[in-house]
């Protein structure tokens, strides 16, 4: 994969200001994503894992420019989209879409399914008949009945709603789709169906995915490469088999050991590591390595210097003073 990546994030950070906006005194800055760099190539699925609150959703929203990064640059297909205004983003909007975590909150309850799916087509020059036909095609594509077009979201189950959300994301013909925990709100029996559908669509239509999930086995199943986040930082990133067999970062090891993975190769990390303490407050992150307050193998240097994300060979990147060099 030496071609130009479809998505390139270069030291992207996102800070939120929390607290009252009139009295500046109680304002605090929360760094949700801290200097994250990554490439995602065309046709690839990049899996993103990490505990809740580590910044996965924020990173996904940054990559499709729902948020404007506080610093860093984002390239889409070689084009710098970091500071495009919403108007300037318009022509690119149809190319990048998102499938949301909550299939209940992501569909406007006042709109019919056909209006929801057709919304991304409003800015195209398609006439009504073509739009209607497209809506029915999309419904069939995601395994729903065409007769569902005039119904309202509340008439559907969670799995069906997620399919509606997927149909909408596909409406404008996207290239890059952020799947933000698309299955975590669904029944286990439906999860596999939806994931299989996403894979099938990818094979047929060549989509590029950022697949966010905390279900490690699902991530392993669907991803080509995987990134691990902790407290806004990308701490490890590697091709999927490499990561699951030779995980190098102490946090990744702890994360993996917490879930039983049915895999004989993973014997190296089969011992269960239990992390001490809680995730630090993102408004007051620790100095140096973000993981040092819970790291079982912490060293004195970890408090002074933030470890850089370095390539330890074979596209395996790790940010830890104990690894590499």
């Amino acid at each position: 994969m030496t071609a130009q990546p479809l998505i390139r994030a270069d030291r992207v950070s996102m800070q939120f200001t929390v607290g009252s906006s009139i009295t500046r005194a109680r304002r605090r800055v929360l760094t949700a994503v801290d200097q994250v760099s990554l490439d995602i190539h065309r046709g690839e699925t990049f899996g993103l894992v990490g505990e809740s609150g580590c910044g996965k959703t924020t990173l996904g929203r940054l990559l499709v420019r729902l948020y404007r990064p506080t610093s860093g640059t984002i390239l889409y297909d070689g084009q710098d989209i970091t500071s495009l205004t919403p108007q300037q983003m318009m022509p690119l909007r149809r190319k990048m879409q998102m499938i949301f975590q909550d299939p209940y909150a992501s569909l406007d309850p006042r709109m019919t399914v056909s209006t929801i799916i057709a919304e991304p087509l409003r800015r195209t020059d398609m006439d009504r008949a073509r739009v209607d036909a497209r809506v029915r095609e999309l419904l069939t594509l995601v395994g729903l009945d065409e007769n569902h077009a005039r119904r309202y979201p509340h008439e559907f189950s969670g799995g069906q709603r997620q399919r509606i959300g997927i149909a909408r994301a596909l409406a404008a013909g996207p290239e890059f789709i952020v799947c933000d925990e698309p299955i975590s709100a669904l029944d286990v029996s439906i999860q596999a169906q939806v994931v299989n559908m996403l894979e099938e669509l990818q094979q047929r239509l060549g989509f590029t995915y950022l697949f966010v999930s905390h279900d490690l086995s699902m991530v392993r199943h669907i991803s080509h490469r995987v990134g691990v986040m902790y407290l806004g930082h990308m701490v490890e990133m590697a091709p999927v088999d490499e990561l699951f067999t030779h995980m190098a970062h102490p946090y990744t090891q702890a994360l993996m050991s917490a879930v039983p993975i049915a895999d004989p190769d993973a014997s190296a990390a089969s011992q269960r590591i239990i992390l001490q303490g809680d995730v630090p407050n993102p408004m007051a992150p620790p100095s140096g390595c973000p993981f040092r307050t819970r790291c079982p193998v912490v060293m004195p240097v970890c408090a002074d210097q933030k470890p850089a994300l370095l390539d330890i060979g074979g596209g395996h990147w790790v940010a830890c003073h104990r690894v590499g060099t």
Binding site: M96, L141, G173
Partner: protein, 307 residues
Amino acid sequence: MQAQPDAAAYEFIPEAERKAAEQLSRPSLSYWQDAWRRLKKDKLAMLGLAFVALMGLMAIFGPLFSPYAYDYSDFSAISQGPSAKHWFGTDALGRDLFVRILYGARISLAIGLVSALVNMIIGVVYGGVAGFVGGRTDNIMMRIVDILIALPSLLYIVILMMFMGSNIRSILIALCISSWVGTARITRSQVVSLKQQEYVLSARLAGASNWEILIRHLLPNSMGPVIVSVTFLIPSAIFSEAFLSFLGIGIQKPMASWGSLANDAIETLRSAPYQMFFPVAAISLTMFSLNFIGDGLRDALDPRLRK
């Protein structure tokens, strides 16, 4: 090599199948049709609606068919009780009370409707903008609302009326200044909570502008509570007018509103209590009806109850 995503790739359903599926689909109810269907099931709300509609029709057309003018005095028939000639009797100046109550209904209902409409427009726009823009703008706009709410509205209504004179226009202005703030607050809190919803982000991804997001998604989804609060504003405006007129600073003679009719009846309360009864009954029944309608709408417009 991966295939490029291509619009044509989606089109694989034969035309014939598409037609067949089209015929199967039966019309599904729109949001408003559905709400109306559920409102119809609410007996009290329908009763209230029927009463208000009847009152409205009688207010518009009733006086046209009455043999008496609202300001015609028949001095041979002063303070006569209800009879076949004068259904609700006559007042102390020999005027027909029935036609005066219908005439009063015109004024009371018009004041209720107009002030509710103005309140809704000002409140929805003000609250919608404050909630959507957020930040400092929102803060300043809502502090102004807080101040307006903190002032006792009756006080400045009375002051305003003393400066502008006692007529319908100044009553309307006074009522509109005082009560849009509630609608603004409701709309704002709706918009603030709704704009965090993922479907708003999703609309942005679909290429919607700020304005489209506000108009297409946020305001329609805020409408339920807003309409309910406006429905409750109508009776409170009617009551405020009645109260002002009752105090003698509202509608001036020979015009009549329900409040001024009740005021006129005070002097003759002992000798002719019916003169008090009819206007008060009109006020009470209308207020009850509108409150029933408001309750019914609240249930009918709640998306969580939709079936």
